[in-house]
Amino acid sequence: MSLYIKYFSIHLKSQMQFKSSFFFTTLGQFLVAFVTLLSINFMFARFDSVGGFTHEEVLLCFAIIMSAFSISELIARGFDQFPNLIGNGGFDRALVRPRNVIFQVLASQMDFSRLGRLLQAILVFIYVIPSSSIDWTLPRVITLALMIICGGLLFFGLQVLYAALSFFTLEGLEFMNLLTHGAQEHGRLPFSVYGDGILKFLTFIVPLALIQYYPLLFLLGREEAGIFHGIAPVMSLLFLLPCYACFKLGLKKYQSTGS
């Protein structure tokens, strides 16, 4: 852990060396989130609700997904860039070091510009938490925290899976973006609005709805939602097991690209 903190501070320091570059990439991240927020607001200027959710409820959903995603991108950037690491042979160096491989990939890169996105999410939280009619009891606060933390871990799992697939293909597979960037972009609306098929897929195959739709029902105090909905984010973590297994399998099969 202390080694990780050391890496963390090194990455932070090195990115702070290029202040204007850091400022602009962070601003860019902020803007990406901001234009999504604007689109939500433009739509709700025309409509009162979508799929039974009001403007405030959608904003809450947006902020939760945005924070979960940006945290995972900040920390797990190394897996996002993993195809490059394989391509340039950097991964071979990691293999010969006496440390856990996943730890090394994790520590190899961190992207602090994602703080721009996180800042946007926090601003939305500041606006929406007092203005929504949610009664913030302790279980609800815990659920909110679980949604963000487990959401971050789930996105992390998807990135590990993306990295694992590139063991076999040696290049990044763009369709995984649908499950990471796509989930973040389209996850601004509760997944139920996309219809039953999508919701089932996101419940049983890639359990993104477990960190978004179900616990959101619990937060909003909907009748059908019980404590089971509140702890759904924890169950989503089961998804990390197959991701890890795929990575292990890929590692076993790994042949260096030789560069």
Binding site: L31, L38, M43, R46, E174, F175, Y194
Partner: protein, 267 residues
């Protein structure tokens, strides 16, 4: 015309090498488009009268946007141009017996077209055979298709001419990363990449329609979907021509000014 054809052929064969990537990209673009449409459908079910366009028009807009993504989004930057300006490699371009502005314009357009051809055709074929609600419906008249194609070409030209201004700004700033990021995101939003311009609030919408951003993807996609007709259509296409000429002149002006004072370090 000959150099354009040669450049185009090189880029096209180059892109053809990455068929797996193209397939993965196709899946992504299709899934993304489908999710966007499902999102709009949810709003539509809530209140059909809140829609400024018909649902079918919205669907057509989204599929065409997905298909022609590489043609019409600002953020497909040509990083090699930025690098050549920042590293000084641009000196090679300057000694070639070819106009630099025209050369870059050609390279950028060729790259965008090559990328689009590979992805657009299969995506459109799938979109044409989807279940009725989400199907891409072709325009009813042949003239609309012709107008769409003309407007699409104008649109690409406006996008490239606009992005040329950003490339040229690198001569002045030496590091255009900031401008590239901020302008790219803002422009893509204002031209209707997140939600179509008819969904914008009215005042903002009118302002955008007269701005260069209204002359980008907005015009051809709305013509194709059948939303833009008659006098509005003529006005939009005239605005496209106006902005294209404006950007070309501005680009050439700033380029020649930059080239007069450019200093290439040895090495």
């Amino acid at each position: 015309m000959k150099p354009f054809a040669a450049l185009f052929r090189i880029r096209f064969t180059n892109s053809l090498q990455y068929r797996a990537a193209a397939l993965a990209g196709l899946v992504t673009q299709f899934g993304w488009g489908l999710m966007t449409i499902l999102g709009f459908a949810a709003f539509y079910r809530e209140n059909p009268t809140g829609f400024p366009m018909t649902f079918q028009q919205t669907v057509a807009y989204i599929w065409m946007q997905q298909a022609f993504m590489a043609l019409l989004f600002i953020w497909f930057w040509e990083n090699s141009i930025f690098e050549s300006i920042e590293s000084g490699g641009v000196a090679y371009d300057l000694v070639r017996p070819m106009d630099v502005y025209g050369r870059w314009f050609t390279t950028i357009s060729a790259n965008r077209i090559a990328r689009t051809v590979l992805r657009a055709v299969p995506l459109l074929v799938i979109a044409l055979i989807l279940p009725v609600a989400f199907r891409l419906v072709l325009p009813s008249s042949f003239i609309t298709v012709v107008l769409f194609i003309i407007s699409l070409i104008l649109s690409l030209s406006v996008v490239v001419a606009f992005s040329m201004l950003i490339y040229i700004s690198t001569f002045y700033t030496m590091n255009s990363k900031g401008i590239r990021i901020v302008v790219g995101i803002a422009a893509d939003f204002l031209m209707g990449s997140y939600i179509p311009i008819p969904f914008f609030p009215d005042t903002l919408r009118t302002m955008i329609e007269f701005s260069p951003f209204g002359a980008m993807k907005n015009t051809p996609l709305l013509i194709f979907s059948g939303y833009l007709t008659g006098a509005d259509l003529v006005q939009s296409m005239l605005l496209q021509i106006f902005w294209l000429l404006f950007m070309l002149l501005a680009g050439r002006f700033f380029m020649s000014r930059a080239l007069k004072r450019v200093v290439v370090q040895g090495g």
